[in-house]
């Protein structure tokens, strides 16, 4: 009884107080002024975020673009503007298009397989079973461990002569050279193993995002589907999956950006391979900086990479329409 009266009194108070400072409410042109004033009022709250966005995101991006139009010597001295010559160098590099294609394969395969496995994992973790908490914790572990560390473990496991994965494969007879196979020494196998590691480290975040989505599916809806005679497959496709749309959208978008920008896995797994047969755009940027000391060209390629990410995300949003309500 008392709660209802409380609620009604606040509502009344709110309704009463609103028109007070404005005076006459229906004045034309007023809302525009109000907007500016509201913005000023909100500055103390959004100000720090704006400063952060400018300082940490925009300023470096501007410097990156600026650097991409300069001629910077190998010891880092700025020798003046060269217009778009660095971009010409990026695109005329004979390995650019294979690298570009590999980047797309890398992003699509890693994200697609990650999401598929995560859908299954999340479904399992959503069921009540003894020890579920421990299993849920176990799924987080790849997330908690440093990516470089996880990759190094796999890398050393794959080493010939002393790696345990190689030793295992030799022992069960799958590899017939006694010192093992050079998985990380050949572009194709090293790239394939990198994809495996990338999927492994992307699983926790994706699984948990989907799990959170699964928990928003109301029990009554599932019950209703059951009452209407829908089998488990039909329920999943027609009831559960559509409701996961926003969770999947977040998982896929963040994964696309993350995987595209991922350097450490490929750097560790394919770092010793000569030539450019296992590179993606990210490792190529790194090679420009680390091996060739071409900060200017690396900046140009970074700008290109930035554009590519935006295009991929735009295509995804356009085609899949992840934000559309069910």
């Amino acid at each position: 009884m008392s709660t209802t009266s409380d609620a009604s009194s606040t509502r009344a108070g709110a309704a009463e107080s609103r028109p007070r400072p404005g005076g006459s409410p229906a004045e034309p042109g007023r809302p525009k002024k109000r907007g500016g004033r509201d913005l000023l009022h909100s500055l103390p709250w959004i100000g720090p975020a704006l400063i952060l966005i400018f300082g940490v995101v925009l300023y470096p991006a501007i410097v990156m673009f600026y650097n991409s139009t300069r001629d910077i010597s190998i010891s880092g001295i700025d020798k003046g503007s060269v217009g778009f010559d660095n971009y010409v160098e990026v695109f005329s590099f004979p390995y650019f298009w294979p690298i570009f294609g590999r980047t797309i394969v890398w992003v699509v395969v890693v994200v697609a397989v990650t999401v598929l496995i995560s859908l299954g994992l999340a479904q399992i973790l959503n069921k009540a079973f003894p020890g579920r908490r421990i299993v849920r914790l176990a799924v987080i572990i790849p997330w908690a461990a440093s990516v470089v560390m996880t990759t190094m473990v796999v890398y050393y496991g794959l080493e010939p002569y002393f790696g345990i994965i190689n030793k295992f494969l030799v022992d069960i007879g799958l590899v017939d050279t006694p010192e093992g196979y050079g998985w990380t020494r050949n572009p194709a196998t090293a790239f394939a193993w990198s994809i495996v590691v990338a999927i492994f480290v992307s699983l926790p975040f994706t699984t948990y995002t989907i799990l959170a989505g699964l928990q928003t599916v109301p029990g009554e809806v599932l019950e209703a589907a059951k009452m209407d005679g829908a089998g488990p497959v039909r329920t999943y496709w027609a009831v559960v999956l559509p409701q996961l749309r926003s969770a999947l959208a977040v998982a896929v978008l963040i994964n696309i950006i993350n995987v595209f920008n991922s350097l450490p896995i490929l750097k560790v797994m394919t770092g010793s391979i000569p030539g450019y047969d296992a590179d993606t755009i990210m490792t190529m940027i790194f090679k420009y900086i680390q091996n060739q000391h071409k900060v200017d060209v690396a900046s140009a390629l970074s700008v290109v990479a930035f554009v590519i990410v935006i295009v991929i995300v735009a295509i995804y949003v356009r085609v899949v329409k992840p934000m559309k309500e069910v």
């Binding site: 000023l40 190998i74 880092g76 006694p178 391979i273």
Partner: protein
């Protein structure tokens, strides 16, 4: 409303002010505290071994005791990172005063370095071996001080060669034959350890290309795509195709492969003076010997590598302090124990005398006079070095000529 506007503009001003102030922080950088009469020297060095940091700290402690008005800040980086660290520092206007590194011609081209005669006393200057100093000259002026030298030689696993019934080789034909026979022993044993991975592909490349009469060029021009380099490159392919090497030589790194040699699974591999110490520590029972590197016709050859110390012209007022530091460092009492602990070869005449009795260094000191060096005074050498690291390993799968052409192209573009 007026009040809130004022409030708003105050916030805006505060925001702008904090941005401007913050941006001031970028450029400034703390200068040295010369006002108090004290000079600070920044020293950037790579790590040669686990002991490097301690050795430099000892040098600095001794130097600071002798010169209380000079403070030395030490920064140790791994070889992998060193060149990007120095590039970042220079770009940020915070170059170290003294830097220990490899290629330096790029810095000279950008007019960043002191000519070394300005930063060492004549006595110290005249103590350097002439051949090393000549290798640090650009247009007749030395811009870097030799720090350490190393020469290479072939480490041979006596037990494996005996099992295969072969002798230590002196030329390519013998090497191919011996390595193939050792590889045929099976059990994961490789005849010749050939590390063409990015770690130090340029060294293994030089061993083969120069051993066949080739060259990387001189201070003026880089000539990788040269007919004289082809025999060496073809021989590398021959070794790989014959199965005389470990698997996947194109992407094998040097240090891990040396560990496999130390474990006794590789018949022969080119090594450095510090390898002696690594074997003593890792597998003292290994029965090995050190012989000159086999060449095409058996003529003696070794690849010499020299690392340098250089001084950056930062403020101009540190020249005196840098001179004091170099003179102190290169005095035989300080320098000889340093070089000895790191297991390298000395570059000063006094150092060579002091270490002439060292047995472990003898095979290397012997070949050192005939050593050939990288054309590191060529401003293009950095790019060539990077091109070798990134591309030479492709020789495993691509035709030798194509690889040389590609390296030359990337080097020219750099």
């Amino acid at each position: 409303m007026k009040k809130s506007l004022r409030f708003g503009s105050a916030i805006a001003i505060a925001a702008v002010a904090s941005l401007t102030l913050a941006s001031c922080g970028f450029g400034g950088g703390d200068g040295d505290d010369s006002a108090s009469g004290e000079t600070t020297l920044d020293l950037l060095v790579p790590s040669y071994s686990d002991a490097t940091q301690g050795l430099w700290e000892d040098v600095i402690d001794g130097f600071e005791d002798a010169n209380p008005d000079i403070t030395v800040n030490l920064e140790v980086q791994s070889w992998d990172n060193l060149e990007s660290v120095i590039a970042t520092k220079i770009q940020g206007g915070e170059a170290p005063d003294i830097y220990n590194g490899g290629p330096f011609a790029g810095f000279v081209a950008d007019e960043l370095l002191y000519p070394v005669e300005d930063v060492v006393s004549p006595d110290t200057f005249s103590d350097f071996q002439d051949s090393f100093l000549a290798n640090a000259e650009v247009d007749g002026t030395a811009y870097a001080l030799p720090l350490i030298a190393s020469a290479r030689a072939l480490f041979v696993n006596n037990a494996l060669l005996q099992q295969a019934g072969v002798e230590a080789p002196t030329n390519w034909d013998e090497l191919l034959d011996a390595a193939t026979k050792v590889s045929a022993l099976g059990g994961g044993v490789a005849g010749y350890g050939m590390p063409l991975g990015s770690e130090e592909a340029q060294a293994e490349a030089a061993v083969w290309l120069w051993g066949g009469g080739g060259t990387f060029g001189d201070a003026e021009t880089i000539t990788v795509d040269d007919p004289s380099n082809l025999p060496g490159a073809e021989q590398v392919k021959k070794m790989i195709d014959a199965g005389a090497t470990q698997a996947d030589p194109g992407s094998t790194q040097r240090s891990p492969l040396m560990d496999i040699f130390i474990q006794g699974k590789i018949g022969m591999q080119v090594g450095l003076p510090p390898t002696v110490g690594q074997i003593a520590e890792g597998n003292p029972d290994l029965d090995y010997s050190i012989v000159p590197i086999p060449t095409k016709d058996g003529s003696p050859f070794t690849l010499g590598v020299m690392d340098q110390l250089m001084a950056f012209q930062n403020d101009g007022d540190k020249q005196e302090a840098i001179t004091k530091f170099f003179d102190y460092y290169y005095s035989a009492d300080v320098y000889v124990p340093w070089v000895q602990s790191e297991g390298f070869l000395p570059v000063t005449k006094s150092g060579a005398e002091a270490l002439s009795g060292e047995e472990a260094l003898a095979p290397f000191l012997e070949v050192l006079p005939g050593a050939q060096f990288y054309p590191s005074t060529n401003p293009q050498w950095s790019a060539t070095d990077a091109a070798f690291k990134a591309l030479f390993g492709q020789i495993q799968t691509k035709p030798a000529q194509d690889v040389l052409t590609e390296i030359q192209a990337q080097s020219d573009a750099g």
